[in-house]
């Protein structure tokens, strides 16, 4: 018994190391969308609006022209980091930006938007995090490119950067728009 106790740390460590290694060894890059979601229709459940007078998100909205769907929350630190970038792109009119407010109290989310500005065209309110599960959100912020037929084309985990926007997302958006969303 005494000796087994001394083995315990090793056993626990082994389990933790396996958890760490599994995603890397299986080649699953946590930054890319699991193949299960890409090129599949975006989840279409209706999300109530967060802001009065600004629509929420539903199937019809997702079927509209190419758009970015951005998951954000007021408690999420990197969301603040990407916010100015999103604001700039949304203001330039080059992208259509929808937001899903994830696991956030309404007043906190509203205060956050009041402070930083609200670049979103529509904002869905996902208090329970149910939509996050449907979309396969790993952690906020997370951004999806959804084409005109409501199909998810790209997913970015973590805060967006100028580089990702310029080199990956914008070319994809332009391509999708040119191709009529196919």
């Amino acid at each position: 018994m005494g000796r087994l106790l001394y083995l315990l740390p090793l056993v626990i460590f082994g389990a933790i190391a396996a958890y760490f290694a599994a995603p890397i060894l299986s080649g699953k890059d946590p930054k890319t969308l699991p193949s299960a979601m890409i090129d599949k229709p975006a989840p279409t459940q209706t999300l109530p609006p967060l802001v009065d007078g600004k629509p929420g998100i539903d199937a019809a909205a997702l079927a509209g022209p190419v758009k970015l769907v951005n998951f954000f929350a007021s408690w999420c630190v990197p969301c603040r980091a990407e916010h100015p970038l999103l604001t700039r792109y949304a203001a330039s009119g080059k992208i259509r930006l929808y937001g899903i407010n994830y696991k956030n109290k309404k007043e906190e989310a509203l205060a956050w938007l009041a402070e930083l500005g609200d670049p979103y065209e529509r904002i869905g309110f996902d208090l329970s995090g149910r939509a996050g599960i449907e979309w396969g959100v790993y952690g906020v912020p997370e951004t999806y490119v959804v084409d005109a037929k409501g199909i998810i084309r790209y997913r970015h985990v973590g805060p967006l950067t100028q580089l990702v926007m310029a080199e990956t997302i914008m070319p994809l958006v332009e391509k999708l728009e040119a191709g009529g969303g196919s």
């Binding site: 995603p23 946590p30 929350a73 990197p78 696991k103 402070e115 930083l116 500005g117 599960i133």
Partner: protein
């Protein structure tokens, strides 16, 4: 040319490390003094090689040699010199080089000052140290070579991330790494002791100063980071439970536990296997800190490298180091003879409880940081953990720990009388009661949290002062005699007092900020007035000014209280054109009672600017408290008995401080 020299020196360091890993270990097993001594020379040579490599990289940064890819990616010719230099460690490759530099520096310190260590223990510790160094050098040379060239050389660089161009953050990583890597000493000595099959008070006397030094540096590093987040990010907060913050906080919690349990080994020759285990775990958590930031498994604002290949390499390194040492622990720890016995209620018992609570707290943070990952791996379900989790789990664990902190130092070794200890704390209890009543009657919000928080801070102060009064026998003997006792007390006693009082000050600040903070958000144009608590903030004007490598836009605001001028604030926004990234520089007016904090967001003349203002009560106390903790560590380190390399005291020759610690 110089970059190649650096690269070459790094390769040389790799071979020296290999020799240093093998030869002294063989020597220790054969009891061959010459082979054991080789470790000391190798450690010095390894340090020299890595120092040359580091100097070469720094040189490339200073002269802006953009033919070196690393410099191109993280520097710019117009960047101020300070940030050219801090750019060296402000990126993945450079920071790894910095990591091994500090590791080698510690190895060198053992070689240079370890004269009074048993030769075999020193040889084994140096060997273990070199194994870690070898692993990291292979990692750097194979996956993260900082000396890679670009041909043709670009005209100018891409610039260091503007968020990192800040004096606080220039020194945050070096301090943090000094802490992380410093725990490698405790680790190396723990492994060496397991191999020797012996842990005794002499061992603990050796490990404690290293642990203390690492702890002091880590405390300083974490606080610098937190301070930076406070004034640079412009969000009014100072701790966000962000994975990278947690990654540095976990080794801190474990290291704090280690610091306390090593005392028991030293004074009472007990808790040996636990202390060894803590030493291993603390370093494992430091390694994990490195792993978490660089693997891309968790995303964060601070993470600079996202590369699964590197992550896999570090993971392998960790499995080897931690798995190997835990296997060794399982084999050898049962052999360690346990020494002094003690009753549950005793100083030892108190320290055991301290360790239990700290390690549970550490486990909580661990789970909070990695739970999303675990759940994804097991069920495929996705979750995210926010601050509410930590408020519900971490805070309740801290409360008993802090209450214990007031009592613990008054308990006697071996067997204590808890009633007697509590009786001696009557003054502390009275102080706590007065503070609680005062807070309750003065607090409009009647928040229980504030009462508990300030009560705990008062309790700690009362406990520390009571203990001090007992030690110098205040009012029991003449004042003069008490003073003589006070000057005779050891540095480590004063260090402990200072650190514990610092913690109380920190809690005061954190509680005040959490419960009494006031904020106001407004979209304001010049001429507008914002009311914030008792203050009126007038937005006078917005002006522009070019900086060395950025464009600054700053607001001028006049703050008045009841018509009396208080101060003038100039919150700033900077745009760094190279990275096309804005940063905020909050304006803070500090008094002992509060910070007045204003930041300016995006905006223009027509629509106005988003102005966010806070009153953060007592926040300066947090920084003062943290500074006191760091000073406590330094004062303790100055203690002769802990001083590295200080010659042994001839027994009986020097006056023994009464009461010891």
């Amino acid at each position: 040319m110089i970059a190649e020299l650096g690269h070459f020196a790094l390769i040389a360091a790799l071979f020296v490390a290999l020799a240093q890993a093998v030869v002294p270990m063989v020597g220790a097993n054969r009891r061959d003094l010459a082979l054991m001594d080789f470790g000391r020379y190798a450690a010095s040579a390894q340090f020299l090689c890595i120092a040359i490599a580091f100097a070469a990289l720094t040189h490339a940064y200073i002269i802006s040699d953009f033919s070196v890819a690393n410099v191109f990616q993280n520097s710019h010719s117009k960047q101020p010199l300070l940030y050219k230099i801090s750019g060296v460690w402000g990126n993945h490759e450079g920071s790894m080089l910095f990591w091994v530099l500090i590791l080698a520096l510690f190895g060198f310190a053992v070689a240079a000052f370890g004269n009074n260590l048993p030769a075999s223990l020193r040889a084994r510790a140096l060997s273990v140290q070199a194994m870690i160094g070898f692993g990291f050098l292979v990692f750097i040379l194979l996956t993260s070579n900082p000396f890679e060239r670009l041909d043709p050389a670009p005209l100018d660089g891409r610039e260091l991330n503007p968020l990192l161009q800040d004096p606080g953050l220039a020194f945050h990583p070096p301090m943090l790494y000094l802490g992380y890597v410093g725990f490698s000493m405790a680790f190396s000595f723990a492994i060496a002791a397991l191999l020797e099959g012996r842990v005794d008070p002499a061992w603990a006397r050796w490990v404690r100063p290293w642990t203390l030094a690492a702890w002091t540096a880590l405390t300083g590093g974490i606080v610098l980071g937190s301070w930076w987040a406070y004034y640079e990010l412009g969000w009014g907060g100072w701790w966000f439970w962000d994975p990278v913050e947690n990654a540095s906080f976990m080794p801190w919690l474990a290291g704090t536990a280690l610091l306390h349990s090593a005392i028991v080994v030293e004074k009472r020759d007990s808790l040996k296997s636990w202390t060894i285990l803590l030493a291993i775990l603390t370093f494992a958590l430091s390694l994990m800190g490195t792993f978490l930031v660089r693997s891309g498994v968790l995303t964060s604002v601070h993470a600079f490298a996202v590369d699964p290949e590197r992550g896999l390499f570090i993971l392998g390194l960790m499995i080897l180091a931690v798995g190997g040492s835990l296997a060794l622990f399982a084999m050898r720890a049962p052999v360690l003879k346990s020494g002094g016995l003690f009753r549950p209620i005793s100083r030892e018992g108190g320290l055991v409880l301290n360790n239990l609570l700290l390690s549970t707290a550490c486990a909580t943070v661990f789970i909070g940081t990695l739970y999303p990952l675990f759940l994804d791996a097991t069920t495929g379900q996705k979750v995210s953990v926010g601050p509410p989790f930590y408020n519900a789990t971490f805070v309740p664990l801290m409360i008993p720990l802090l209450v214990l902190l007031g009592v613990g130092p008054l308990l006697a070794w071996k067997r204590a009388d808890i009633l007697q200890a509590l009786t001696r704390l009557w003054a502390a209890a009275v102080l706590t009661a007065i503070v609680c009543l005062f807070i309750w009657s003065g607090d409009d919000g009647k928040s229980v949290g504030a009462v508990v928080g300030f009560g705990i801070a008062a309790w700690i102060v009362g406990g520390v002062l009571t203990e001090y009064a007992e030690r110098i026998r205040l009012f029991r003997i003449s004042i003069g005699a008490s003073l003589r006792r006070a000057t005779g007390l050891s540095g480590s006693s004063y260090g402990m007092m200072l650190a514990h009082l610092g913690l109380a000050a920190f809690i005061t600040g954190a509680v005040g900020d959490t419960f009494w903070g006031v904020e106001a958000v407004a979209n304001a144009r010049p001429g507008d007035k914002i009311t914030l608590g008792p203050y009126d903030i007038t937005f006078d004007k917005m002006s522009r000014e070019p900086g060395p490598n950025y464009e600054a836009e700053f607001a001028t605001m006049t703050v008045t209280r009841d018509g009396e001028p208080v101060t003038r604030l100039r919150p700033e926004r900077r745009i760094y054109p190279v990275q096309r990234m804005p940063t905020t520089e909050a304006a803070i007016h500090t008094t002992l009672a509060r910070d007045l904090y204003v930041s300016v967001g995006e905006g223009n003349q027509a629509d106005g600017w988003a102005v966010h203002a806070w009153i953060n009560p007592l926040v300066p106390w947090m920084w003062i408290g943290a500074l006191m903790m760091v000073c406590g560590g330094l004062v303790s380190l100055s203690d002769r008995r802990l001083r590295v390399g200080a010659p042994k005291r001839i027994s009986g020759a020097a006056p023994q401080p009464v009461g010891g610690d």
